[in-house]
Symmetry: D2
Subunit: 306 residues, 4 copies
């Protein structure tokens, strides 16, 4: 099979490499010339524009987009559109919002597969987990590629119609936030608690046979090995949050309570409140109001313009 890959960042390159390794042909495009050259070195046919990528693919095109979610997807689709017809298949392997995917599936002349991709850079060796939404025939057509890019035949499945792949990936990420925070709470208590513990050793023993063993826990073990039991200079600041926010938004729409996912998302927001949490500042002041407890003041020298 011949696959066009658009976007040759870390994740796109894994798609290229695993597809090539499985014996397929790859036509690769990125706006960055160096990325194109590197893909060519790896065995792909480089294309210096989306037009030439489309030309190279001929009839019954199979194109995998691995570009940042948002405008970049629409831009690529818009440029590809003149070249697409209904026997072509476009895969969006990024973290798009499922409603964007539903819209794109309707607007695109080709069959459209929204493909939630999980596994990160570690997927280079192991393969990804792929959650795919869209027409059954298109999913089946791409199966050889999915087998290659995923961990194997068990690493991908069609979830349902358009949007369902990114929907399931969105929820996956919401759960991911909660799992990280759940492990974090456990290790926080161990770190602050009664014993002086070697947290790498704790994580290691847990990863061998304990109920809570997991890949994330292996990453905890790695983190403690590399940063030390006190996590050294790692800051109390968690970036990101869009897929978790989408998960909570969708749960509001479905009237499904997600207290753990919400709590985990809140920790991210709270970690970025550089001026301190206003709600806590008010509570501090109210304790003076009703009980004449001393107001805790921040150091003038630390105070920043708000």
């Amino acid at each position: 099979m011949q696959l066009g890959v658009v976007g040759l960042g870390r994740m796109g390159r894994i798609v290229v490499d695993r597809t090539l390794a499985a014996g397929h042909d790859v036509v690769a495009f990125d706006i960055d010339a160096e990325a194109r050259e590197e893909a060519a070195d790896a065995g792909a046919t480089p294309a210096d524009s989306l037009d030439s990528l489309a030309a190279e693919l001929g009839e019954a095109k199979r194109i995998w987009l691995m570009v940042p979610a948002g405008d970049a997807v629409d831009a690529a689709l818009s440029e590809l559109e003149p070249h697409l017809s209904d026997d072509d298949v476009v895969v969006d392997g990024g973290n798009s919002h499922f409603e964007d995917s539903t819209r794109r599936a309707e607007e695109t002349p080709a069959a459209y597969l929204d493909c939630g991709t999980s596994g990160g850079p570690a997927g280079a060796e192991l393969g990804f987990s792929l959650m795919v939404g869209g027409p059954e025939w298109a999913y089946e057509t791409l199966t050889p590629v999915f087998d290659a890019v995923a961990t194997g035949p068990d690493g991908h499945a069609r979830m349902g119609p358009a949007g369902s792949g990114h929907y399931v990936k969105m929820v996956h990420n919401g759960v991911e936030y909660a799992l990280m925070q759940a492990y974090g709470e456990g290790f926080e208590l161990l770190h602050e608690g009664r014993y002086d513990l070697d947290l790498e050793s704790v994580a290691g023993v847990w990863n061998n046979g304990a109920v809570i063993r997991s890949w994330l826990l292996e990453l905890c073990e790695e983190a403690f090995r590399e940063e030390g039991s006190s996590l050294g200079t790692v800051a109390d600041r968690i970036e990101g949050g869009s897929t978790g926010t989408w998960t909570v938004q969708e749960a509001l729409a479905q009237e499904v309570p997600l207290p753990l996912v919400y709590a985990a998302l809140s920790e991210r927001f709270g970690s970025r409140a550089d001026e301190g949490r206003f709600s806590r500042r008010l509570a501090n002041r109210l304790r003076y109001g009703f009980g004449r407890h001393e107001v805790q003041r921040r150091d003038e020298s630390e105070s920043r313009t708000e």
Copy 2:
């Protein structure tokens, strides 16, 4: 009626003053001589020891302890014990744990009333809310004093047997934590949100007829008036937490979920994590682990010994 008052801090003095104002006699003791003199100036008979306070009160003693919860209560009771018999009544008006009160009620030769006291310094003018546990006859005997110290006859009631007064006060405080944080969340969203709002004005309008009007909201209004809409130098640090902790502990014992009270208590704990929350630091690091997202590092110069 003649009342002995032990402990002449801010709250004890309110008990003295309101009892005197209602036409009763007060014998007042504090380990601090100056506090005794001030109470004498206010019209109380000063006693320079618990022994002389007991001697002054004669038979059928009525004694109100207003000392810090914990060892000070046991110390006072232990010193008073030789002077007490079963027609005496001792009131503990502090924030004792209800299980201590139950124990003390059993150990003390006098009738024992545990009296949860709410209202803070503002109670000087308005009177307190008093939640009383213990024998009915003792509660009734003290009614003239309770009428004086409380806002009036509606401001006190017997909750039930020994410990129930402090039990209800403990729960009151748990609710108090949650209410403060609930208002705090609302004002935080208004402060961070889309409009540039005068929060004193918001609180003021809410306090006039809105569903959420309350005394705590009046204190919010006062806080914004005195500190400004951005709360000036008020720090993100909330001290205290013992009664909220007791509330959650008791709820664990009763298997009652208290998500809001717990969340409010957690904000206090979190506000005092000067080194940052370990759980968030781990989540920050894990995002690198699975996604190669850049690790946020804290400034070396800020880093403190852990």
Copy 3:
């Protein structure tokens, strides 16, 4: 001043009655003829259509919409539009989303005031709390009416530009959810806890001088008085939730954590999960998976089609 009032339900009638009582003239319209007649009996001039209401008001119209948030507001505005010019003022006193209000303010030929209204039916006697957004001149023009409908001059204020009134009301309602649940948690612990308590008496004492006294706590006291300490047949089911949902959505957009408001909203959603919470069902089953703990099964006879 002459005020047109559109919508004569419970809240609209309070606007009519309080405006009349303050000596102003009211032209009143509702699609329900009976409601119009009742308003006429109360002293208003009835109008049998929006056209005739507009005609009756002449130049410099002042119109208060008190219709259900959503399409009804757009329908009324659309019908009024031909009669409106830029020296007219329209007030939306309902629970509209602030983004709808911002849009309507732009689309409407008249000056537009979004007016968050709190206080419920109890506002009939006391007056409402009014949070107003929109042009300053329009707010000032309507001041005599706001004085009448609110608790008085302190019961209303201009929050800021278009949308800010409904924005502040939205947040008010989010806080309201959390306050109700906070009191609920306290009373749940008292109800399930160690003592057999009279919850009306507890609420009563708290309402007299305690830190947590509030109007909502007075409503708790009333609830226990009318339903009993065990709340009789009152069901574990909380309807509503739109303004709380909006509050959480806006907080997500602002990256402000609202753990208490979210927890309170989650209780509403959870209370309506008639088939049980799926997450708990899975946890139940997982305990068998790792520990062979017996799976709790629901009675076949209770099981419903999902």
Copy 4:
């Protein structure tokens, strides 16, 4: 090595079988004669009392207790005590509270190892994860047995002094509650959400390469395979909760916030509130109080005595 095993339930039998399989000798006791016979059939030397077990073991006894946490441990230790001296080692492999373990370590004449054991029945084949607290020499002495009972040398480690093994296991279980609920929230949203999904397939794809893959997620997959995507008759009721409660209690003592663990524990408590949650019932009633929203009533026929 010769090991005495006390308690031949499911977990105790795994200890026996894995120790025998590694070529060690086992002396086995249980109060149930049938359990003793089955252990004898498996190759252990049965003992019909703790006295005879102790006699059989001779000098330098190594005894593994696998009895229910609580009084059974104290009872076994008390019966063994006359036979123990300081060159003996007793292992408590159950879910004891770490403070009990600390106390027992002080009271027992033998060296005492508290050994948190995770993995459940699945450990029969794979081996357990063992978190051990107590004297280093005792831990080293038992290493051959730990190698056999655990997944291997990586499946056990000495956490620190007395109590630390059960402390780490307690925290493990707190995390376990949160992980289960986190997955539960994700699957609840997928179940209630926009697409008709095959949850076994979702879990399967996630378990192949996704960031959130884990053993608990494999158990989710198994649960959906065996019960169906809607979980059939599995009830919304989660039993258990003691180790999660201990975790929260300890976190209160350490002033560490655990919002996710607490939320997960709350779901357990809430799932067992057969009369409904009182807090929600009050909120339902309050909505009538301030807004005249209809009170939801429970069916008289359903109402039960409270």
